[in-house]
């Protein structure tokens, strides 16, 4: 449930809980700066449903990245409950969290975040290697994933020989290769020019529509927000708005 929604239609209330990929209940996160505890999240209640194409917006310091980190199992909450695809993340060790990220989460970061010594295809195969997928299947799936994001023929290029937009497409393909329960994208268009950013938004929307992949995107970008079907506002570590939208 998301108590701070502005609209009468509360997305979390409309869908049954077993359709939820992510459930956050009274989620809190405090960071310590010297002797002072700085709250980053203050009792967030949120549910993300299968197939959502949602944006998470808010001013700098509102807690977007912190919330994405919590959902992605990159950090432990200070208090509250967080369940991803039925797993309570508080009960997982660092190793278990790594395994959960490998199997269930796809990440697209603001910077392109590809491994520089690997080619585009190898960056995607890296996830499959960690999953223990066999060589032939890895190659086929990586090539198919690159074709899916419009990068056919660039499989053997290293990141330094790809444009920013191409690198971000590789990152999207990598995020999707493990068929994740949810893709978390933190400012995915922040470093891209207008045209490239538009292309990336189209791509993610298309993948959501075709494959039903759930996206939760932390962003300031109005174009991304405009394309989302659900928009969540975060202010001072609290959900200040949550609306379903027709795009």
């Amino acid at each position: 449930m998301c108590p701070d929604t502005k609209e009468a239609t509360t997305p979390g209330a409309d869908a049954p809980e077993n359709d939820s990929i992510v459930v956050c209940r009274n989620l809190e996160k405090h960071y310590r700066q010297g002797a002072i505890q700085v709250p980053a999240l203050r009792g967030v209640d949120l549910e993300i449903h299968r197939g959502d194409f949602a944006t998470l917006a808010g001013p700098s310091g509102s807690g977007k990245t912190t919330l994405l980190n919590m959902i992605g199992g990159l950090d432990y909450p200070s208090a509250g409950e967080i369940i991803v695809d039925g797993q309570d993340l508080r009960a997982l060790t660092k190793s278990d969290l790594a395994e959960m990220r490998l199997r269930k989460i796809g990440f697209v970061f603001q910077a392109y975040n590809l491994i520089p010594v690997l080619t585009a295809a190898e960056n995607i195969e890296f996830i499959l290697r960690l999953q223990g997928v066999g060589s032939r299947e890895r190659h086929e799936r990586a090539r198919a994933a690159l074709a899916d994001v419009g990068l056919e023929g660039l499989e053997d290029r290293r990141p330094s020989h790809l444009s920013g937009g191409q690198q971000q497409r590789v990152a999207v393909a990598r995020a999707l290769i493990n068929r994740p329960a949810i893709v978390l994208a933190d400012e995915p268009t922040a470093n891209l020019d207008t045209q490239t950013a538009g292309g990336l938004i189209d791509l993610m929307a298309d993948l959501n529509a075709r494959h039903g992949t759930t996206f939760l995107m932390g962003t300031h970008d109005a174009r991304v927000i405009a394309r989302s079907r659900r928009h969540i506002e975060l202010t001072d570590g609290r959900i200040s708005g949550d609306e379903l939208r027709n795009t």
Binding site: T65, R101, F109, V117, L130, G132
Partner: protein, 409 residues
């Protein structure tokens, strides 16, 4: 495990070449380290072999028998009878290749110009040739021809000191068995070369002639024995001591403690050197890996964010170190093999003959690489190299993936 290695190995290999200059410097450090360890070990082995061979083949042999007290007072007062009975039977031990009787005594050799103190050795030339290389190292004239030969064989160094030459006569003065001064003239019949110390110390005459000169009868001062298999030495000594409990029977290790110490301490010295070199190598390895880790903090965070477990992060850094050190070891081994192969004809250290004699070595060293030792030392260096890299590896594994996320946001 194999699948993990197959995942990490290509990544590790490419990572070590991300900064070729730093990698090459580290490779040079490791290669030079292993090169110096192997070369040091080879020369030390050569020195030990040379010292042992010098002892075994010049004068000492594997075992010596003396009358008790002779080694403290090597004069005609401490002689023993020609071997007979149990001792003669013990000398037929199957592990004894050869033995030779000797009568050693301090003497003065006098030429027309000079007088020199020497240790005169009465030998049975035929038997002596089976246990010592000196009879074969005669560079002028000939060695003694039989037990009644009346010539003397001098070292090249003493020949020069005495300012005499082949065919000239010298006078030998020594204390006889009855306490009187025995004196006898000898023709210089041969000149031998050996190392400087041996040339300066010993002169050889025929055994019967020496016994006759000193009036010792058939008595001997020493029996030198060759036992080719060093593992059989204790058993032979035991048999001899049992057969002749009244005699002083000692091995070359007891007679030449310096050579024995070199032989025994060699392994230890190599390992001390290994550790010294390894500390230097470790500084290079750790420095390289720490720099590599700190430069890639973001990347390690990313890898963890993507689902790589912390122990795999440790694995990748350790693997990078393993590859780097392994490659350095191969280069160092290759360089050492090349140098040792180039020196296979021996290294002539006769220019340092005095020094060589002081450290117990001969004038030629024959360094060789010992394959089991190479493997052993290389494995030790490789394992240690990987172990020291675990420190930066653990640092890498401890990096929170959030740091990477924070970095980008």
């Amino acid at each position: 495990m194999i699948e993990t290695l197959r995942t990490l190995a290509p990544l590790a290999w490419r990572n070590i070449w991300r900064n070729p200059r730093r990698t090459i410097i580290t490779l040079i450090v490791v290669a030079m380290g292993i090169f110096s360890i192997l070369i040091f070990a080879a020369f030390l082995r050569a020195w030990a072999d040379s010292s042992r061979d010098r002892v075994l083949t010049l004068m000492t042999s594997s075992i010596q028998i003396h009358a008790r007290g002779f080694l403290d007072d090597p004069t005609v007062k401490h002689l023993f009878e020609q071997p007979s009975g149990p001792l003669a039977e013990a000398l037929d031990h199957p592990d004894i290749a050869h033995w030779a009787p000797r009568l050693l005594f301090p003497a003065i050799v006098q030429s027309e110009y000079r007088t020199l103190p020497v240790t005169l050795v009465g030998v049975d030339p035929a038997r002596e040739a089976t246990i010592s290389v000196i009879p074969a190292n005669v560079i002028q004239g000939s060695y003694l021809s039989g037990r009644q030969d009346v010539r003397i064989v001098l070292g090249d160094k003493n020949l020069a000191r005495l300012k005499t030459r082949l065919g000239k006569r010298v006078v030998v003065l020594a204390q006889a068995a009855d306490g009187t001064l025995a004196e006898r003239g000898f023709e210089v019949g041969g000149v031998f070369s050996g190392d400087s110390e041996i040339e300066g110390q010993f002169a050889f005459v025929a055994l019967d002639t020496a016994q006759d000169m000193l009036g010792t009868g058939n008595k001997l001062a020493e029996i030198a024995i060759q036992v080719p298999d060093p593992d059989k030495l204790p058993a032979v000594v035991q048999a001899l001591r049992k057969a002749a409990p009244d005699l002083d029977i000692r091995t070359w290790k007891e007679l030449s403690p310096m050579a024995a110490a070199v032989d025994q301490m060699m392994g230890l010295i190599v390992y001390v050197w290994l550790w010294v070199m390894f500390v230097l190598m470790a500084i290079g390895i750790v420095n390289t890996q720490l720099m590599a880790v700190f430069e890639r903090i973001h990347e390690f965070g990313l890898m963890q964010a993507l689902g790589m477990r912390p122990r795999m992060i440790v694995g990748i850094v350790a693997l990078e170190s393993g590859m780097l050190v392994g490659l350095g070891i191969l280069i160092g081994m290759g360089a050492a093999a090349f140098l040792i192969s180039a020196l296979s004809g021996g290294v002539d250290i006769s220019g340092f003959a005095e020094g060589a004699a002081m450290i117990g070595a001969g004038t030629m060293l024959y360094p060789e690489l010992d394959p089991p030792q190479i493997i052993q030392l290389s494995i030790v260096v490789w394992v240690l190299g990987v172990l020291v890299a675990l420190w930066p590896a653990r640092k890498a594994a401890k990096i929170s993936p959030v740091e990477a996320m924070t970095h980008v946001s």
